[in-house]
Amino acid sequence: MAGLTPDLLAMQVFAGLALGAVYVLMALGMSLLFGMLTVVNFAHGAFYMLGAYGAVALLGYGGNFWVCLFFIPLAVGLVGMAVERVLIRPLYGRGIDYPLLLTFGLAYVIVELVRIGFGTEDLPFDTPAALTGAVNIGIGYFPLYRLFVIAVTGVVLVGLWLFLERTSYGLIIRAGARDPQIVRILGIDVGRVWLVVFGIGTGLAALAGLLAAPLQGASPDMGDSILAIAFVVTVVGGMGSLLGAVLAGLLVGVVVSLTSLVAPEAAQVAVFVLMAVVLLVRPQGFFGRAGLMS
């Protein structure tokens, strides 16, 4: 363990936060969909992948990274809304396993369509020129792009918080996550709210995939491993809890990052060990409500 200086550890924690930021974006969407719609979205990884491939396509047509950052989450969010409207909506009220199976199958369809359109190989994804290089953050040089990922996630979190806490729509979503029936009784068309929530959730997944692409490239199955981790984050944070998703996402990112420093091959396993420990101590996760799944 020679060479494990405090600075190196601090850097690794920071790298973990950047990784965790991507998990947070994924888990927020999943938690929102589960908390409000009781949809366990197995296609969330596919929407993540669509974020990266949407950018590949748009860049191919001469768009730049900044245009992608704005339009891709919007476009994928619209795809998500179409999916909710056409495929998921008929399944509400039929139990949790119907939308689960549907999204499970949908993920395969989306991934295969991308394979047909873009090929099966990994595609490189350049870090935008303005964000290459590293900056001194006091404890050492840290890649600028990773800082950017943390910053974008921060901005999204603040925006989402303001939306939920300060707008009428946010009030409906907060109330609907607790008790959709009373929201209906008070005359609100929850179908419209659910549509918007699905759009937000899938848009966030696309943003996560887009932000991850310069770090790892784009591949049709890039959503598989992140889906598993996002599930862990959602469960550890407490299903349906947004604050839980944020804290657990960052925690899992740091755990992966630190484990890969000492034992890279154990990094993925560490995530599941963390989940097992948390669930043994607190079955509902950090901020989850007990019995939500029953």
Partner: protein, 239 residues
């Protein structure tokens, strides 16, 4: 029989799964009336209110409100026509303040009333809530939560207010306050359909009442006549 029917329910049947809960309910509520549904637990009172509001998936029959049949229409469309419903469990939203619970009741009405005015109007009717607007709603007593549930349904200005067991689990002093309030609401033009376990209390405020048993209406009369008829009360309402 009332002449100016606001709500007419005809042959209403409802199922939960395979259980046939309502087996043909007929009732009418006239504009400006307070009508009460009484009967034992499981007689179908709550299911009747829920079916009128559109919360029961499998129903048959007619629910005519202001001339339009509501069966098959979504809950929000019924609310938009002027139906308000305060469910038995009150369903105060945890984690929201009193004010946000009230705002929630107003959102469906869109820009029809200014939010501040509407909340001020409710605060005037419910002084107990006025002092607690920014308090977390769930920290209030059961009676105060019931007041909030009623205020939240009233704030959008429903023409027919349906209340399920408003006196349940509330201290007597507050129950009196609440029933005084219901009388005042009626005087101001709100029609009320009430389900109430406390028969004497219910018949004391109602104009007419329907007695339900095993999913059907077994008897109906003016409240005064029912109040005088100990045999009927004994037969269908004694616990």
């Amino acid at each position: 029989m009332p002449r100016d029917a606001m709500l007419t329910v005809e042959g209403l049947q409802a199922w939960y799964g395979s259980s046939h809960v309502l087996q043909g309910i007929d009732l009418e509520v006239a504009r400006g009336e307070i009508v009460c549904l009484i009967g034992r637990n499981g007689a179908g009172k709550t299911t009747t209110l829920r079916s009128v509001m559109g919360l029961v998936a499998r129903v048959r029959g007619r629910v005519v409100f202001d001339g339009a049949d509501l069966v098959g229409r979504p809950v929000h469309a019924r609310h938009a026509r002027g139906l308000g419903y305060v469910p038995e469990e009150r369903r105060i939203v945890q984690g929201l303040s009193v004010r946000d619970n009230l705002r929630l009741g107003l959102l469906a009405a869109g820009g029809r009333r200014r939010e501040a005015d509407a909340i001020a109007a409710m605060a005037e009717i419910f002084p107990r809530l006025a002092e607690r607007l920014d308090q977390s709603a769930i920290t209030m007593s059961g009676g105060e939560q019931q007041m909030l549930a009623i205020a939240r349904a009233l704030i959008s200005g429903p023409r027919l207010l349906m209340l399920d067991e408003p006196s349940e689990g509330i201290m007597p002093l507050l129950v009196d306050e609440m029933f005084d309030l219901l009388r005042r609401l009626r005087e101001e033009g709100t029609t009320i359909l009430l389900v109430e376990q406390n028969v004497e209390l219910a018949l004391g405020i109602a104009d007419r009442a329907y007695i339900l048993d095993q999913g059907t209406v077994v008897h109906h009369d003016t409240a005064a006549a029912l109040l005088a008829d100990a045999a009927i009360q004994e037969r269908y309402c004694a616990v």
